[in-house]
Amino acid sequence: MTTVVKVNNLSKTYGAGDTAVYALKKVNIEIEQGDFVAIMGASGSGKSTLMNILGCLDAPTEGNYWIRNLDVADLDEEQLAVVRSQLIGFVFQSFNLIPRTSALRNVELPMAYQGVSRAERRRRAAEALTAVGLADRMEHQPHELSGGQQQRVAIARALVTEPAMVLADEPTGALDTASTHEILELLHELNRKGTTVVVITHEEEVARAARRVIRLRDGEIIEDRTWAA
């Protein structure tokens, strides 16, 4: 098995001096290609902080992070953009779709930065939206979609580039039970096709469905459990 993510003594501190917040303290994680990892922990335990660093949206204060054997600290701005574009799909709790832009355009967008031709983009975006069950909502703008639908657009946007891993920060946090099930099912399907999935969740149900659960408390890993497949 190949390692997608390797994190070594990773720390993240916000602020300095008396007001410093130690969001992550010397965290060590290794994630294999094709794994399905749930990250759990109380509010403020550092889950989002970890996830943002894994997604190259933020930089650690200390420690090392390798993604596919690339030391992220060595990458410049341009190379980081390539990593985000080629290797990572990010799903946010608050969807983060581009406002006033159709679902189809939103899903097309990441492919544009990969140099995919327009026709090809259109085709694959439509395919991805169909896969998440939104074939009839392609021309809708985010504000014309329900929360669950918006999150499905966001998942389509994350998976359409066929990234090495999809990172989802509480993807169902703002959704009802029915939508939650749909979203989880989508993530599992993605994982079955070989994509590494890391998902932050508060729900035991989600965690049970994962192959591996990492629990954080006050920025430290207190449990890292893997179930046999």
């Binding site: 933020d58 341009e78 985000r84 574009s85 990010f90 946010f92 967008l109 990441p110 580039t161």
Partner: protein, 410 residues
């Protein structure tokens, strides 16, 4: 720019603009107002300058100057004279004053330029211009006396050392004291000041008030010698007759100097050179005023554009964060926002130019505006640049943030 083509980025920019009509229209409106106000204000100022110039031209076109060729005989001790040219003489002046040959000439006065240094007590000053002439010069050159009086024909016949001076020379020699009846020394001769002329102001780099005017006979006797004169100042009977008067001047001068064709003329006849210069002067003042107005309106317009650009781009910091999170390189984001800013500035600039030109067709507060190309270009270029800079700068700032910082931006 990575793999994203420029055409693609243009399309993105267009979408960015068209997806938020309100924000885009406000931005365009900001640029439009900036550009059109500069154009209109400058055009109104220009229009009033033109009106003033026309008025001046109407006022006094009956002033004619005859000059010798090649510097008109120079002046004073440093006289230069072309060997073939005869130069102007008192006899020429007398011929011009002959009513039988020149019915449209009211009067002609000789002018002899000299250079002298004048002293009063231990104060010394060299006036920019020292002239010897006849009494009719004052009327012909429209130089009324403000304080004191003129010297007389008798002074001319008697070659007396008397002078009318300009306000600058008066100030230089006497400061605030009254110059009237004071005796100064000019070129070693005693000269009594009898009057001070009304101020004419500065013409280009020459101060029209830094002058001393004395009887030509005195200047010849005491300062410059009895050579050719420098100029002849001619006044036509009225503005309508100026052209006829000029023709008469030419005819008389040709016969005086035995000249067959104008090509070989050793003199030049000029009309309203003084007036044109003073109008140039007036429009210079107006131009400065206009430039100030234009600068202020450009500044105000620029601040408007800056504001709306800053606000609308800052508002989209989160959007920039999303773009970065899904893998957009900084250059692509920056190019997109710059093109957006450029399109908005151009749209605003072009509509501002059209509106400005449109409004300038109507008379504003009684002034018929005259649009100047330079104001249109300046307004357009400056607003486009301001739009580009203040659209590009916050976009660059946002695109330089880590994605998470841009996403969290409030």
């Amino acid at each position: 720019m990575g793999s994203l083509g420029l055409r693609e980025i243009w399309r993105f920019a267009w979408r960015g603009i068209s997806s938020n009509r309100m924000r885009s229209s406000l931005t365009i409106l900001g640029v439009l107002i900036g550009v059109s106000s500069v154009i209109i204000l400058t055009a109104v100022g220009n229009g009033s300058a033109t009106a003033v110039r026309q008025q001046i031209e109407k006022l006094g076109t009956n002033s004619i100057t005859v000059m010798g060729n090649g510097g008109g005989g120079g002046g004073g001790f440093s006289r230069t004279r072309s060997s073939t040219a005869k130069g102007l003489t008192i006899a020429d002046t007398t011929a011009l004053n002959n009513k039988d040959n020149a019915p449209h000439i009211k009067q002609a006065a000789p002018i002899l330029n000299a250079s002298v240094t004048c002293t009063y007590g231990n104060i010394s000053a060299t006036p920019g211009s020292a002239k010897g002439t006849w009494t009719s010069y004052f009327e012909a050159s429209n130089s009324p006396v403000d304080k004191g009086g003129y010297w007389t024909n008798d002074d001319v016949t008697q070659k007396r050392g008397v002078a009318v001076i300009g306000t600058t020379l008066a100030k230089n020699l006497f400061d605030t004291d009254s110059p009237i009846d004071k005796i100064i020394r000019c070129g070693g001769q005693s000269v009594t000041v009898v009057g001070v002329m009304k101020s004419k102001g500065t013409t280009g780099f020459q101060d029209s008030d830094d002058v001393i005017i004395m009887p030509i006979t005195f200047v010849q006797r005491a300062i410059a010698g009895y050579g050719n004169i420098s100029q002849i100042q001619v006044e036509s009977i009225d503005a309508k007759s100026t052209q006829l008067a000029m023709d008469e001047v030419t005819a008389i001068m040709n016969s005086q100097h035995k000249i067959k064709s104008t090509a070989t003329a050793d003199y030049r006849v000029l009309n309203q050179s003084d007036l044109l210069q003073s109008s140039t002067d007036t429009s210079k003042t107006l131009t400065v005023l206009l430039a100030a107005i234009a600068a202020i309106s450009l500044l105000v317009g620029g601040i408007g554009i800056t504001n709306i650009m800053l606000v609308s781009v800052t508002e989209r910091t989160r959007e920039i964060g999303i773009l970065k999170a899904i893998g957009a390189p900084k250059a692509a984001i920056l190019t997109q926002f710059l093109i957006e800013a450029m399109m908005l500035s151009l749209l605003g600039g072009i509509s501002g130019v059209l509106l400005g030109l449109g409004i300038s067709h109507f008379s504003i507060l009684g002034v018929v505006p005259v649009v100047s190309l330079s104001s249109v270009l300046t307004a357009f270029i400056v607003s486009a640049l301001v739009g580009l800079v203040f659209g590009g700068w916050p976009a660059n700032r946002a695109a330089s943030l880590r994605p998470i910082e841009a996403l969290r931006y409030e």
